[in-house]
C-alpha cells in the first residue's frame, strides 16, 4: 500500500448536516491500516452515522482497547476526545468515563481478540450493567496486530493462513450479549455499509448497552480460502434479517426497494427507525426467539446480520444507580463537600 490518504467514504463535498458540519468534520487522522482492511469501512460507517445523526463531535467520547481495530478511533472524529486504553479493558474505562459524565455519547471500539479473548469478562459485565454506550467489535477472527493468530471468535474448523485448523469452540458475541442483558444487539458486515450505517445510528440513539458485532475481514491474515471470516465466505453465508432506515424529522424517509415487510419504531427522542423484514418472520422484541434463531442458524453455518434484539425501554446504569442528572464531573465543593458542621456531628457520634 502507499502512505497516501485512504480513499474516503464517498460523499458530495458540499453536503452539510443540521449543525452545518461537513463530512470532513467527522473524520480523523489518516488510517495506517492495511489497504482494504475491513476496519476502515467500519470507521467510514461510524463517521457517516455521526454525520447523518447531526451529532456534535465534541460530545462524543471514543474509547478502545489495543489492536488494529482499537487503533481506528484515531481515524475518525478528530474533534472528539479519544482514549486508546489497554488490551481488553475498554469496557471498564468507558464505564468509568460514563459515570463521570452522563451527558456525552460513548462509543467503544474493540476487536475480537480485545473483546472475546482477554476482554471477555469486561465485555460481559459492561453488558449486564447496562452501560449506555455503543459497543462495536470489529470482528475478523484473528489478532491482526500481532500477525494473525486465531482469536476466540474463530469458528471451529476455520483455517489459518498457514492451513492450521481452529479446534476450539467459537464465542458468538451476539449470543453472549443477548444472554448477558444487552438491550440492543445487532450484527453487521464491513462489506455492507447500507445495512451498517443505520444500525450504528440506531445504536447511538439507544439509551442503554448497545452492542454491534461487525464482521470485518482482515486482508492481511484472514481473507483466504478456508477462513470463515473472509469477504467471500461472509458474503455467501450472510443472512440479512432486516434492513433499517433511520428517520429523523428533517430527512425524508427513503424507502429501500427491497423485499419484505416494513415496520416503523419510534425511539425515545422522537426519531424513528423503519425496519424492513428481509429473511423471515422474526420478532426482534423477543429475546428467547432471538436466541433460538441464532442457535438455529449457527447450526446451519449461517451468519445472521441485522438488528437481532432491541428492548425499547432500556434501563441504563445511571438510572439503576439513581445518579443525578448533572454530570458528576461538573460538580464542585459546593455540591460535594458536606462541610465542617456535618463533620462535627460525625465526630460527636464517634466519642
Amino acid at each position: 500500500m502507499t502512505y497516501l490518504a485512504k480513499p474516503k467514504f464517498h460523499h458530495p463535498a458540499i453536503e452539510v448536516n443540521a449543525l452545518g458540519l461537513t463530512h470532513r468534520d467527522y473524520e480523523g487522522s489518516v488510517s495506517t491500516l492495511c489497504a482494504g482492511c475491513g476496519h476502515d469501512s467500519i470507521s467510514a460507517a461510524i463517521i457517516r452515522a455521526c454525520f447523518e445523526l447531526d451529532l456534535q463531535p465534541h460530545r462524543i467520547a471514543k474509547l478502545s482497547g489495543i489492536g488494529c481495530s482499537s487503533k481506528t478511533p484515531t481515524y475518525m472524529l478528530g474533534q472528539s476526545h479519544g482514549f486508546n486504553s489497554v488490551h481488553g479493558r475498554m469496557p471498564s474505562v468507558l464505564t468509568g468515563a460514563s459515570l463521570a459524565n452522563r451527558g456525552l455519547l460513548y462509543l467503544g471500539v474493540s476487536g475480537d481478540g480485545d473483546t472475546a479473548s482477554i476482554g471477555l469478562g469486561q465485555f460481559a459485565h459492561a453488558m449486564r450493567r447496562g452501560v449506555d454506550m455503543t459497543y462495536i467489535t470489529e470482528n475478523n477472527g484473528v489478532y491482526g496486530l500481532t500477525k494473525g493468530q486465531f482469536s476466540a471468535t474463530s469458528d471451529t474448523g476455520s483455517k489459518s493462513k498457514k492451513g492450521v485448523e481452529n479446534l476450539d469452540a467459537p464465542i458468538d458475541l451476539v449470543a453472549m450479549a443477548l444472554q448477558l442483558g444487552a438491550t440492543f444487539v445487532a450484527r453487521g458486515f464491513s462489506g455492507d455499509k447500507g445495512q451498517l450505517v443505520p444500525l450504528i445510528k440506531a445504536a447511538f440513539e439507544h439509551r442503554g448497552a448497545a452492542f454491534i458485532d461487525v464482521v470485518s475481514p482482515c486482508v492481511a491474515f484472514n481473507n483466504h480460502e478456508g477462513s470463515t471470516k473472509s469477504f467471500d465466505y461472509v458474503r455467501e453465508h450472510n443472512i440479512a434479517l432486516n434492513s433499517l432506515d433511520f428517520i429523523t424529522g428533517r430527512r425524508p424517509i427513503e424507502i429501500d426497494a427491497q423485499a419484505g415487510v416494513s415496520e416503523t419504531v419510534t425511539l425515545h427522542d422522537g426519531s424513528a427507525i423503519r425496519l424492513h423484514r428481509l429473511a423471515e418472520d422474526y420478532d426482534w422484541r423477543d429475546r428467547s426467539a432471538a436466541s433460538a434463531m441464532l442457535e438455529r442458524h449457527r447450526g446451519e453455518g449461517n451468519l445472521v446480520t441485522g438488528l437481532i434484539y432491541m428492548n425499547e425501554e432500556p434501563v441504563d446504569l445511571h438510572q439503576r444507580l439513581g445518579t443525578s442528572q448533572t454530570p458528576l464531573n461538573a460538580m464542585s465543593e459546593v455540591d460535594l463537600c458536606p462541610g465542617s458542621k456535618a463533620l462535627e456531628a460525625i465526630n460527636q457520634s464517634l466519642r
Binding site: 456534535q56 463531535p57 465534541h58 460530545r59 467520547a61 474509547l63 478511533p73 484515531t74 474533534q79 472528539s80 476526545h81 479519544g82 482514549f83 486508546n84 486504553s85 489497554v86 479493558r89 469496557p91 471498564s92 474505562v93 468507558l94 464505564t95 468509568g96 468515563a97 460514563s98 459515570l99 463521570a100 459524565n101 451527558g103 456525552l104 469478562g121 469486561q122 460481559a124 459485565h125 450493567r129 446504569l317 445511571h318 444507580l321 439513581g322 445518579t323 443525578s324 442528572q325 448533572t326 458528576l328 464531573n329 460538580m331 464542585s332 465543593e333 455540591d335 460535594l336 463537600c337 458536606p338 462541610g339 465542617s340 456535618a342 463533620l343 460525625i346 465526630n347 464517634l350 466519642r351
Partner: protein, 611 residues
C-alpha cells in the same frame, strides 16, 4: 504477685467469630473511653465467617500510649478451642476470667495467675430460655462482670447501651438486665474491684475513636470523590462501604433523591481501576480501594495511569503477603509494588497516613494531588489502621477550602486561543495542561494513549520525543516532592547523630519507643515519612545523622530500598528493623532492636517478648 495497675493494662478477649461478641467488646472498650481513659482496641480475626477463634484486645493507657503492647494482663477466655494457649499467654501475675460452667477447667490454670471463674453458661441457661438469647446475652453478662472487676462505672455502660439502641427501646432493657446480672454476680463472687482497674480521668479530651477505613472513606467524601469502583477484599472492603454509607447520608438530594455519587462494585480489581481511570480521565474525582492481590492485578492499568497521566486515587489497605498470605493480618509490604507499579520505568506517589486522622486528611488531599499532579495517588493504609478503632483528634475541615483541580484548560481558555499541547511543559514544573472531554466544539480534543507520543499527544515511535516525555515525567515527580505532605521530625532532647525513620502505623509504637529509649538514656531523633517521593527534609535528616534506623513492617526493608534509590548516599547508614509477623509492631520490639544494635551497648535492657 498479682499485677497492680490503674489505667495501664491490656485486656484480651478470646472469642469465637460469628458469636456476637464484637459489639459487647466494643461496648466494654467505649465505656472506659467515656471514663476519660485513653484506649487502643485491636481485633485479631480469622479469614472465615463463623466458628474460628478471634481475639479482641484493649490497651488501657492513661499516658496515652496507643501502640500494641504485645502482652496480656487480663484474659477473658471465652473460647474453649484456644483456652490453653490463651491461658499460657497471660503475663505472670495476670488475671484470667473464664466460664467455670465447664468442669475440668481449673486444673489447667497456672499458679502464677489469678483465676476468676464465673459459671456464665449456667447463669445464662438459668436466665434465658431461648438458645440464641443465651449466646448473645452471655456476652453482655461478662461485660457486666468486668465492669465490677475493673471498676468501670456501670452508669456509663448503661448510657452507652441506651445510645446504641436509640429508637429500639425494646432492646435496651434486656441488655441492661444482662449487664446487671453479670455485675451483681461478680460482686457477689469476687473481691471487686481487682488491683488492675480503671479510674476516671480526663485524658481523652475531644478525641474520637474511629477506624482508619471509615476515616479514609469519609475523607474521600470531603475530598469530592464522586466515582468509586471497587471489588470486595479484606481489609479494604469497609473503606468502600464507609464511602457509600457517608454518601448515602450526605450526598443525596433531599428533594429529588438524586445521588451526587456513583458506586460500582466491579467484577474484579482490573475493572475497578479501569473505571477509576476512565472517570478520572473524564474529569470526575474517582478512586478504588483494595489490598495486595488487587494491587497486583491493577499493575497494567497503573502503568497506563502513570504514562497517560490520569488523575485517580488508590487506597491500598495492606495485609500480610505475599499471595493470599495472611488476609486478616497487618503488614506494610506493598510499598515496592505500589511505588514501582507496572512494567517499564514507573514511579508512583504514595501517601503514608499514620492512623485515622491522617487517613481522613490524606483521603481528601489525595484527590487534590491526583488532579494537581495528574497521576495515580496511592494512600497506603494497613489492616491495623484500617480495621481497628484508634483514638485520634477529631476530624476538622476548613469550610473555605476549595478543591484544587490542577491545570485544567477551560472552554474559555480554549476559546481565547491558548495553545494546548497535552504533554507540553508550559510551566517548567513537568505538569502539562489537560482538557476535559466535551469542553469545546473545536479545540482541545486530544487522543489519550499508553503508547508514546509527542507534546501535542500525537502518536510517535521516535526516540527523542519519548525521552523528552520521560524526562518531563521525572520533573513532575520532582515537583511532587515540593507539594506532598512533608516528613515529621521529632528531635531528641539533646543533639544526637542517631536517627530513626519510620512511617504509617508504626507511629503510635514509635512515640512510645522514643520515650522508653529516653528513659534508658538513648537519644534518637525521629523522622516520620508521610509521602514518597521524599522531600528535601528527608535528605537533610539523613545527612545530619551517622546512623539511621529504618523501621518497617515488612521483611524486605522496602522503604529502605526506596530511600537508597532516591538518595545518592551511603547505604551503610541504613540499618533495618523489620517486623513482619502480621501482628502490629510494638514499642518493646523496636527498643530491643535498637538497643541491641547500638555500638556502645552490650546487654539489652528490654527483655524478650513474644510479639
Amino acid at each position: 504477685m498479682p499485677i497492680q495497675a490503674v489505667n495501664d493494662f491490656v485486656i484480651r478477649f478470646a472469642n469465637v467469630n460469628g458469636s456476637g461478641s464484637a459489639s459487647a467488646n466494643l461496648l466494654f472498650a467505649r465505656s472506659i473511653l467515656r471514663m476519660g481513659v485513653p484506649i487502643a482496641p485491636r481485633n485479631i480475626f480469622p479469614s472465615n465467617i463463623q466458628g474460628l477463634p478471634t481475639w479482641y484486645e484493649v490497651r488501657v493507657s492513661e499516658r496515652g500510649w496507643l501502640g500494641a503492647l504485645g502482652r496480656t494482663d487480663v484474659m477473658v477466655a471465652m473460647n474453649p478451642q484456644t483456652f490453653d494457649k490463651d491461658v499460657a499467654s497471660i503475663e505472670p501475675g495476670g488475671y484470667l476470667f473464664y466460664d467455670s460452667s465447664r468442669s475440668g477447667v481449673p486444673s489447667r490454670l497456672r499458679s502464677d495467675i489469678v483465676g476468676l471463674g464465673m459459671p456464665l453458661t449456667e447463669i445464662c441457661a438459668r436466665e434465658y430460655g431461648d438458645l440464641r438469647q443465651r449466646q448473645l446475652f452471655k456476652n453482655i453478662v461478662y461485660v457486666g462482670a468486668l465492669a465490677a472487676l475493673l471498676d468501670i462505672e456501670i452508669g456509663v455502660v448503661e448510657s452507652l447501651i441506651a445510645e446504641q439502641f436509640k429508637g429500639k427501646a425494646k432492646l435496651v432493657e434486656p441488655n441492661i438486665r444482662a449487664l446487671h446480672i453479670g455485675f451483681e454476680d461478680a460482686r457477689s463472687r469476687f473481691d471487686c474491684p481487682l488491683d488492675v482497674r480503671v479510674r476516671r480521668c480526663d485524658e481523652v479530651g475531644d478525641r474520637i475513636l474511629v477506624e482508619g477505613n471509615f476515616a479514609a472513606g469519609l475523607g474521600a467524601v470531603y475530598g469530592g470523590a464522586t466515582v468509586c469502583a471497587w471489588y470486595p477484599i479484606t481489609p479494604s472492603t469497609s473503606l468502600a462501604e464507609a464511602f457509600e454509607r457517608n454518601c448515602a447520608r450526605l450526598r443525596v438530594d433531599r428533594a429529588t433523591g438524586e445521588k451526587r455519587y456513583a458506586i460500582v462494585q466491579a467484577e474484579d480489581e482490573i475493572a475497578a481501576i479501569g473505571m477509576a481511570i476512565g472517570a478520572g480521565w473524564n474529569g470526575a474525582r474517582a478512586f478504588t480501594a483494595t489490598s495486595g492481590p488487587g494491587i497486583s492485578l491493577m499493575q497494567e492499568f497503573l502503568g497506563l495511569g502513570y504514562f497517560a497521566e490520569i488523575p485517580t486515587v488508590v487506597f491500598d489497605v495492606q495485609r500480610g503477603g505475599p499471595s493470599t498470605g495472611m488476609p486478616t493480618r497487618t503488614q506494610q509490604s506493598d510499598i515496592l509494588s505500589c511505588a514501582f507499579a507496572s512494567h517499564g520505568d514507573t514511579k508512583h506517589i504514595l501517601l503514608l497516613p499514620d492512623g485515622p486522622g491522617e487517613s481522613f486528611e490524606f483521603g481528601a488531599l489525595a484527590f487534590d494531588l491526583a488532579e494537581r499532579l495528574q497521576t495515580p495517588i496511592f494512600v497506603m493504609l494497613d489492616l491495623d489502621i484500617g480495621m481497628n478503632s484508634h483514638l485520634c483528634e477529631p476530624f476538622r475541615w476548613d469550610d473555605s477550602r476549595k478543591f484544587d483541580r490542577g491545570k485544567v484548560m477551560s472552554s474559555a481558555d480554549l476559546e481565547a486561543g491558548r495553545d494546548f499541547g497535552r504533554y507540553l511543559d508550559v510551566d517548567g514544573d513537568g505538569i502539562p495542561w489537560r482538557t476535559i472531554p466535551g469542553a469545546h466544539p473545536k479545540r482541545g480534543a486530544y487522543f489519550t494513549r499508553g503508547t508514546s507520543r509527542d507534546r501535542y499527544a500525537r502518536y510517535t515511535e521516535e526516540g527523542d520525543p519519548y525521552v523528552d516525555n520521560m524526562e518531563r515525567l521525572l520533573r513532575k515527580f520532582d515537583t511532587a516532592r515540593t507539594i506532598l505532605p512533608g516528613a515529621k521530625l521529632r528531635k531528641a532532647a539533646r543533639p544526637t547523630r542517631t536517627g530513626v525513620i519510620h512511617y504509617g502505623s508504626t507511629a503510635a509504637a514509635m512515640d512510645e519507643a522514643e520515650e522508653l529509649l529516653r528513659e534508658d538514656g538513648v537519644l534518637v531523633d525521629s523522622l516520620r515519612i508521610r509521602a514518597f517521593p521524599f522531600g528535601p527534609e528527608v535528605g537533610a535528616f539523613i545527612d545530619a545523622h551517622d546512623r539511621i534506623f529504618v523501621v518497617e513492617q515488612n521483611r524486605d526493608a522496602q522503604m529502605r530500598t526506596l530511600l537508597m534509590a532516591d538518595f545518592d548516599m551511603a547505604a551503610h547508614k541504613f540499618h533495618s528493623i523489620l517486623h513482619f509477623d502480621g501482628t502490629p509492631i510494638t514499642a518493646r520490639f523496636i527498643c530491643r532492636e535498637i538497643s541491641t544494635r547500638m555500638p556502645a551497648r552490650t546487654a539489652p535492657r528490654f527483655k524478650e517478648v513474644a510479639s
